[in-house]
């Protein structure tokens, strides 16, 4: 039954303050860890003097890379502890283990490390030049990706107008409010690690490799997770490994928890991009060709860079029909802090550039920007930039709803009439987005999820998966799917905590794959239970299994209402008759053909679409921009819960406002300068005004119950919609992110200067 009013399964404990996050756990005899980090962006470790630290009361041990029994790191990945070369100011060099956090801190300050400073490189373009300092191997290329369709030169020849623009996006912090933490407890059989992560099996693998132990002997348990946004993957693996190392060597439980400063200095960020676009368009508004060059800063290590950059190259044109495309994207190693996946990874940067570009083209051609999107937008059977025949395209529907909700034309006209002589000016802007769900054919290759259901004797159900509940409602989504397939109340279903000892590998909760891939695995598991139960019920009722319907907690024959039996009774019957009450599902998305050389093929099996509009008020004297109203229209396939969808959208919009206007991780000569929330500014309640979520429901042919993922897509169109609104208000454009006070003020002054000189 579609019970859309169920309460999320995880929220009660959270609202009561009773949910146990990792840092809330205590173990007897526990030790505390502190990391000694290299303060230099590029340095060779010559010697580590532990003596003074070991002399401090309470310090138990000082560990270094030589203490690691297994691999200190995979090639080009961030080491658990640096064996020889530190590649950014934040690389961990030693680990102090102590009886109290205070002793650990004092110990870390007393460790003396001798470094030989190496030449460093901070600018990705510099890093590509011959003779540049090398971060890894014999060149600094971290990853590259191409998309080539048609003949761009011919396309430019056809064009009536050619525009060339450069856009820069900046480095930002994931900033979940829970900082990184891990606890490792040595056991007789191996090591149990408690750690908030979105990728439990990957973190387990990293720990196993560090410790040279079989994966099955590492047990990873996920306590409540205080947000992730992509951050709690490799970063969590490093922490978990450090804790495991100390636990194994001391034989005692070990906790490592970062302060916010440590978190910001060490953790991965969103990739900063420099993007050069050249685009051709006809007078009638039709795009003819697009050439895109992207250079991204991977920072010191590889991390998820290859997947981020391949997604960017695929989605670089935006959701538009462009007959001729040539995109080259490259990510480069530097001695900056490492970049990794962050909510929407790879999408927000190119959505930003392509949507600013669309707006400017529309303006130059004198075409309404919304109409311009319609002219070029993908439709059913359109060919994408990768030559994929697109199906189930809902861009036009999103634009329709956006147009209605914000009353696009009349509001535009009203704003045109506004009095622009005061210090406050208003503007309206829009942006579209699309995004492939899950890893895709070009992406991470293998993509799978397992999930299990056990119906207990009393008819209650335990659900096992590795879905990480990072706050997005993932567990509730799974419960909903099972409840619908089996026709039972959600309250029957208990979601097991993620414990790699018991739950099947469902892959990580990233890349808009939670609903799509894990949701499908649990659907299959529920269908298996259904088939088994139908057999048992059919026998009881004297009918054929195909005749039975599962609804309202019962299994019955629609033709003959007397033939009916409760779900619980069948559960008991299964045990009585020694029949399996288990269901197991394994699902992997269809993988299309992919030509890596040309970047052509079926990049993703499923896409989501969205269209957003922002209305801003801009203070010309201060440069301050307020987003007074934000309308976000998203195709969610099927909204399994409207309130939750609203929450995901509002959260994504808020993060997008931060990305557009205020968040900025400042790094100078490789050293992070904005190390806490007094300098790294996150949006507060005062920065958020009206957010209007609008849902388009075009059931997905692949998602469970037709649902599509939403957590990541909602980020993409926010910054460009806001920047387009700023351009509307100012009459001039900011091209680089963030549009903070200085950037906007600069433009406002220039615009004013121009109009005064006229």
């Amino acid at each position: 039954m579609a019970d859309s009013s169920i309460t999320r399964v995880d929220v009660l404990a959270k609202a009561l303050g009773k949910a146990k996050y990792t840092d809330d756990l205590k173990f007897d005899n526990m030790l505390y860890l502190k990391v000694v980090r290299c303060p230099h962006p590029h340095a060779r470790v010559i010697g580590i003097n532990k003596e003074k630290a070991l002399a401090i009361e309470g310090v138990v041990a000082v560990l270094t890379a030589t203490d690691i029994p297994g691999l200190p790191c995979q090639p080009k990945e961030r080491p658990i502890l640096v064996p020889e070369i530190a590649r950014y100011a934040g690389d961990g060099v030693a680990l102090v283990v102590a009886e109290s956090p205070k002793a650990a801190l004092e110990g870390a300050e007393a460790v003396r490390v001798e470094y030989e400073l190496l030449e460093a490189v901070f600018d990705p373009e510099e890093a590509l030049k011959t003779g540049a300092p090398l971060v890894h191997g014999d060149n600094n290329v971290a990853a590259q990706s191409k998309v080539c369709k048609g003949d761009v030169e011919a396309g430019f020849k056809e064009a009536d107008l050619i525009l060339e623009r450069e856009y820069n996006t900046h480095r930002v912090e994931h900033a979940p409010i829970e900082p990184e933490v891990a606890i490792a407890v040595p056991t007789f059989e191996g090591i149990t690690v408690y750690c908030p992560t979105n990728s439990p099996f990957q973190v387990r693998q990293i720990v196993a490799e560090t410790m040279a132990m079989p994966q099955s002997q590492i047990r990873l348990f996920q306590p409540t997770i205080g947000g992730s946004f992509g951050s709690k993957c490799y970063d969590a693996g490093v922490l978990a490994s450090r804790a495991a190392l100390a636990a194994k060597l001391t034989g005692r439980p070990c906790k490592i928890v970062y302060t916010r400063e440590e978190s910001i200095v060490e953790s991965t960020k969103r990739h900063p991009y420099k993007m050069k676009y050249k685009v051709g368009v006809k007078k009638n508004g039709k795009l003819t060709a697009m050439e895109v060059k992207i250079i991204g800063d991977s920072g010191a290590y590889k991390s998820k860079t290859p997947f981020v950059i391949s997604r960017s190259s695929i989605e670089a044109t935006g959701p538009y029909v462009v007959p001729n495309v040539h995109t080259e994207a490259i990510c480069v190693y530097t001695n900056n802090v490492t970049s990794c996946a962050m909510r929407g990874f790879g999408s927000p940067q190119v959505a930003y550039a392509s949507e600013l570009l669309m707006d400017e083209l529309a303006e130059k051609l004198g075409i309404d920007p919304l109409k311009f999107r319609r002219i070029n937008g993908l439709k059913d059977n359109s060919l994408s930039a990768t030559g994929q025949v697109m199906q189930n395209v809902t861009l036009d529907e999103c634009l329709d709803k956006l147009e209605q909700e914000i009353k696009w034309s009349s509001r535009k006209a009203e704003l045109k009439q506004q009095d622009k002589t005061g210090s406050i000016v208003k503007g309206l802007g829009l942006a579209c987005m699309y995004r492939g769900e899950s890893f895709g054919s070009a992406g991470q290759g293998s993509d799978y999820a397992g999930a299990t259901l056990q119906v207990q004797r009393d008819g209650s159900i335990t659900l096992y998966s590795a879905m990480s509940e990072v706050g997005q409602g993932g567990h509730t989504m799974l419960v909903r799917v099972v409840s619908e397939v089996l026709g039972i109340k959600p309250s029957r279903i208990f979601v097991s905590p993620v414990d790699t000892c018991y739950v099947p590998d469902s892959g990580p909760t990233v890349a808009t794959r939670g609903t799509y891939v894990i949701g499908n695995a649990i659907r299959l598991a529920a269908e298996e239970v259904k088939a088994k139960f139908a057999e048992v019920a059919a026998e009881e009722l004297g009918v054929r299994p195909e005749e039975l319907v599962f609804k309202d907690e019962r299994i019955y024959c629609p033709g003959d209402p007397s033939k009916s039996i409760s779900f619980s009774r069948i559960a008991a019957q299964c045990y009585l008759k020694s029949k399996s009450p288990y269901g197991y599902g394994w699902w992997s998305p269809p993988v299309g053909s992919w030509d890596r050389e040309k970047g052509q093929g079926e990049a993703y099996s499923s896409y989501v679409y969205g269209a957003c509009a922002a209305e801003v008020e801009l203070d010309l004297d201060l440069g301050k921009v307020e987003v007074m109203k934000f309308v976000a229209v998203h195709d969610v396939g099927k909204a399994l819960d409207k309130e939750e969808v609203k929450g995901q959208i509002a959260g994504g919009v808020s993060m997008g406002i931060g990305y557009a206007l205020m968040e900025d991780l400042v790094v100078r000569q490789g050293v992070v300068k904005t190390v806490n929330f007094d300098e790294y500014l996150l949006p507060t309640s005062l920065d958020i005004h009206e957010i209007i979520p609008v849902i388009v429901e075009q059931p997905s042919s692949y998602g469970p119950l037709g649902a599509k993922g939403l957590g990541e897509p909602v980020m993409s169109a926010v910054a460009p919609a806001i920047l387009n609104a700023i351009a509307d208000a100012l009459g001039t454009r900011v091209y680089d992110l963030p549009a903070n006070l200085e950037a906007v003020l600069d433009k406002a002054r220039a615009a004013k200067g121009r109009c005064c000189n006229d």
Binding site: A15, L16, G17, G227, G647, F677, D678, S685
Partner: protein, 156 residues
């Protein structure tokens, strides 16, 4: 180092403790009293995850010395339930989906409570100001404001 004796009331119950002079109230609540509902997100007074109510006012426990709490009444998230019943603010947060990962939630709820205790009928603007010291990375605040508004309206 010499310890300091503090007598305070935590969630209505008298508590006597010996604390180090530099001990933060946050650590004393979490470590000594086992009240882990109060969270640490920044340690510098910026995120509000560590908010509790001291004598009717919200306080960032990461910036407060436990030794200064002598004679004070402290309410933490664990002290909100009465007779096993959810506090109306907790109920409204759940109803309005005002929490996702929940890490900021105890702090936000305490800020909301302090506001409603002193001003049962706040305007939207007053609500926003009251929670502006609580960072939430997940929800975007809208549903939080709605939840607090509803509690205020119901109490009318």
């Amino acid at each position: 180092m010499d310890k300091v004796k503090v007598n305070m009331f935590v969630n209505g119950k008298p508590v006597s403790l010996e604390v180090k002079p530099y001990a933060r109230l946050l650590d004393v609540l979490r470590e000594d009293l086992g009240l882990t509902g109060t969270k640490e997100g920044c340690g510098v007074g910026e995120c509000g995850a560590c908010t509790v109510i001291v004598d009717g006012e919200t306080v960032n426990t990461c910036l407060t010395l436990a030794a200064s709490m002598d004679g004070k009444h402290i309410t933490t998230i664990e002290g909100l339930m009465e007779n096993e019943k959810l506090h109306p603010i907790q109920e409204a947060f759940i109803k309005h989906n005002a929490l996702q990962c929940g890490f900021c939630t105890p702090g936000l709820i305490m800020s909301a409570k302090a506001l409603l205790d002193s001003n049962p009928n706040p305007s939207t603007e007053q609500i926003k100001v009251a929670i502006s010291g609580n960072l939430c990375r997940c929800t975007g605040y809208e549903q939080v404001v709605d939840a607090i508004k509803e509690v205020a309206e119901k109490s009318k």
